[in-house]
């Protein structure tokens, strides 16, 4: 993985010193709440319902064992023993003390981590495919490009005060596991007309109040121009994005109001003027970045099926659902489910993080990854060692065999923590888990993406859930609006609202009724999403509202 050089170290250490001084000035009364707000937000520090919330960047979701141990240490020393992984591959701590945040940042800097630009109206953490470098049909590993973007976007002098936040996702495989179509900019590695690799560039996707699928700005961009093209997009956005209305300030609104053709024309015109300037990436620089992501020292192994011919049902189920194919024979990529029933989705304790660090060292070349679905992943596990690994994970509550199933829910922290939320999402996750606790039924249902947000800001990506759940406030009561038919992948689509929102106690029953329609009407090869797409909302809606739900 990428290792800091002196520039990186210097910048991060100087940032810690700067924030320490800013925090001191605030606590001494030299800075007003409002003045400090602008500063702390640029360090990922929100003031939440109960305490500050600190969001720590995990660049493109990649973590070393040493970093995992530091995340565990921070959870233990400064928080209440856990952290929450987010849909953008970051980790959030919900209980730090403001006066200790500079110390947390200093501890993070020791292991080449930071909270720079994890909030505020700037370019946020660049996210990517959690199977980068190991998935069989990848065109190219996107991580070197993510790191190139990370560096360019860090403390970018021109783009630190944008109209609104700005999120970039990069993928290198046909399957989009980074939700790039609902990012401000999506970068797809593609093959160009002459066979060389470059990028397809999309812009204007996003969720929140106005969900929009991103559109193609440029079908093929030669690789050396990646940064100048991004700079042109950001420049047009910085100058022309709306600043008069916070809810209309994202680039998606600019792209929509100009139309993609006019937006493209402006970007291309700007790019023509800067394309051959100081941002050109020469082959030496690209090679330097690539060298940070070499394939690990794989052993030469045969492909095997490690599951026993009979018995071992629990391991078999886990192996089937929580591991996926690897491009190297004899290896598997292994999901660590953070969706154990009864535990808030995406949460991990300090002890679990420490254990995962040890297991990463033992089984996966000392690295782990965060997925945008709020799980973790060991990318490079020998197939013959998956049983040992499963035993260790299972003992720690990290082997719930539910990846891709209904209970592998994406979920924001909701009303329990977030000051923006209208409704609790964690409670609802718990109710869903209690209702759907029969694994045979879950496996029969197959892939059902459930995504839940506690408010319009859509941190839980509800618009792109096959089943989306949105917490709404009606007269001080928590209600839930249900959508179906959303998807976040390469075939991204926005879900449709099925009808009036439902009360908390009705959510699980509503989902059950949706699933009943699916089970009755599906064709053998159809996922829930496919059936919804084929039939439309109507039959689902009719079933849900046909009879009241018992209180």
């Amino acid at each position: 993985m990428y290792r800091y050089d002196l520039t990186d170290k210097t910048l991060v250490n100087e940032r810690v010193a700067q924030f320490r001084d800013q925090t001191r000035a605030f606590l001494a009364g030299e800075l007003s709440d409002d003045e400090f707000r602008h500063l702390r937000l640029r360090n990922g520090l929100y003031i939440q319902r109960h305490a500050p919330m600190l969001r720590v960047a995990i660049p493109y979701g990649l973590l070393s064992a040493v970093q995992l141990r530091t995340l565990a240490h921070i959870a233990r020393r400064y928080d209440r023993g856990y952290g929450h992984f987010t849909t953008r591959q970051n980790i959030q701590y919900n209980w730090p003390r403001l006066e200790e945040v500079p110390d947390i940042l200093a501890d993070l800097a020791q292991v080449e981590m930071h909270a720079i630009q994890t909030s505020g109206n700037c370019i946020r953490n660049t996210t990517s495919d959690h199977l980068a470098g190991v998935t069989p049909n990848e065109l190219e590993d996107p991580r070197p490009w993510c790191e190139i973007i990370r560096q360019w976007s860090t403390f970018h002098p021109e783009f630190t005060y944008l109209p609104r936040k700005f999120k970039i996702a990069v993928t290198g495989a046909p399957q989009d596991r980074a939700a790039s179509l609902v990012h401000d900019v999506g970068v797809h590695i593609v093959r160009g007309p002459d066979g060389e690799l470059g990028f397809e560039i999309l812009a204007g996707g996003g969720l929140g109040r106005t969900p929009i699928i991103g559109q193609v700005v440029r079908e093929f961009l030669p690789r050396r121009h990646l940064l100048s093209y991004l700079e042109a997009i950001l420049r047009i956005y910085n100058l022309e994005g709306r600043r008069d209305n916070l809810t209309k300030a994202r680039i998606k609104i600019l792209v929509k109001s100009l139309g993609i053709e006019e937006f493209r024309r402006r970007v291309e015109a700007e790019w023509e003027l800067i394309r051959d300037g100081g941002l050109v990436l020469d082959e030496a620089e690209i090679a330097r970045m690539r060298a940070f992501f070499p394939p690990p020292a794989y052993r030469s192994l045969p492909d095997i099926d490690p599951t026993p011919a009979d018995g071992g049902a629990a391991f078999k189920a886990w192996y089937r659902y929580n591991t996926v194919a690897h491009k190297v024979p004899g290896y598997r990529a292994v999901y660590i489910s953070l969706k154990k029933p009864g535990v808030p989705p995406g949460d991990a304790t300090d002890a679990q993080l420490d254990l995962l660090a040890d297991l990463a060292d033992r089984y996966s070349f000392g690295e782990a990854r965060v997925t945008h679905t709020q799980n973790l992943l060991f990318a490079d596990v020998e197939q013959e060692k998956t049983f040992e690994l499963w035993q260790a994970l299972d003992a720690a509550g990290l082997a719930t065999p539910n990846i891709g199933t209904l209970t592998d829910m994406i979920c924001c922290p909701g009303l329990d923590f977030c000051s923006l939320a209208n409704a609790g999402s964690l409670d609802v996750a718990k109710l869903i888990n209690e209702r759907f606790d029969d694994y045979d039924y879950l496996y029969d249902l197959g892939e059902v993406d459930v995504k839940m947000s506690g408010c319009m800001n859509a941190c839980g990506h509800h618009h792109v859930g096959a089943i989306g759940i949105l917490g709404v406030d009606k007269g001080g009561q928590e209600w839930y609006q249900i959508t179906i038919g959303g998807a976040a992948g390469a075939d991204a689509s926005l879900g449709s609202v099925i009808g009036p929102s439902v009360a908390k106690h009705e959510v699980a029953e509503t989902i059950a009724r949706l699933l009943d329609v699916y089970v009755e009407r599906r064709t053998p090869e159809e996922r829930f999403l496919d059936t919804v797409r084929r039939l439309g909302v109507k039959p689902f809606k009719e079933r849900v509202y046909a009879a009241p739900v018992a209180a």
Binding site: Y4, T7, Y161, P163, L279
Partner: protein
């Protein structure tokens, strides 16, 4: 007391006057004499260099260009396009970008365009809501003078040197116009 500002790393008194300030000074000198509209250039306020708003500059441009003596500056509002001022840059000794609030960011682009695209070599001033924590970024966008709140002025030296490295190309003083991903002349650390 004259306004003080940070220019080229020094806290200095500002010799420039905004039009309203010049008019006020003239009004005092003239002890109530009526000012003719648009006749600021005829007025004295010493020979102080004068800063106009972009709209006034546009309206009175011909008169100002005909009067070749006085040093002139123009302030751009966030929504103004730098290109509109481009034909006049040779005549201007100062261009300012106004920051209307803590979240206003268009001036950063205006600064870079003035320096990099239009090769403006005069004083590039940040005015309005400008605080110390913006200085590093502003300087890297080409600004070399800053109207800061008095409390911030004393801290301004340190704010400019908060960070000693950067990832982006920039044309701020002393930095070469090329990618600076590594500190010069220092080996990557172990």
């Amino acid at each position: 007391m004259p306004r003080r500002l940070l220019r080229n790393g020094q806290i200095v008194p500002d010799e420039w006057l905004y039009v309203a300030e010049a008019q006020a000074a003239d009004a005092v000198q003239a002890a109530g004499a009526v000012q003719a509209a648009g006749a600021v250039q005829a007025a004295g306020a010493g020979a102080s260099p004068l800063i106009l708003g972009f709209d006034q500059w546009q309206a009175e441009r011909e008169q100002w260009l005909a009067n070749g003596e006085r040093r002139l500056g123009v302030i751009l509002s966030p929504a103004h396009k730098v290109e509109q001022l481009a034909p006049d840059l040779a005549r201007l000794a100062l261009v300012g970008a106004e920051f209307s609030g803590p979240s206003e960011g268009r001036g950063y682009t205006q600064g870079r365009l003035l320096r990099e695209r239009w090769k403006f070599a005069g004083e590039l001033r940040a005015t309005g809501y400008v605080h110390r924590d913006q200085l590093f970024f502003l300087a890297r966008c080409g600004f070399n003078s800053f109207e800061l709140p008095d409390g911030d002025l004393e801290h301004a030296y340190t704010a400019l040197s908060t960070f000693s490295a950067a990832y982006q190309p920039s044309n701020d003083a002393g930095l070469p116009l090329k990618l600076r991903r590594r500190l010069p002349d220092t080996p990557a650390s172990a």
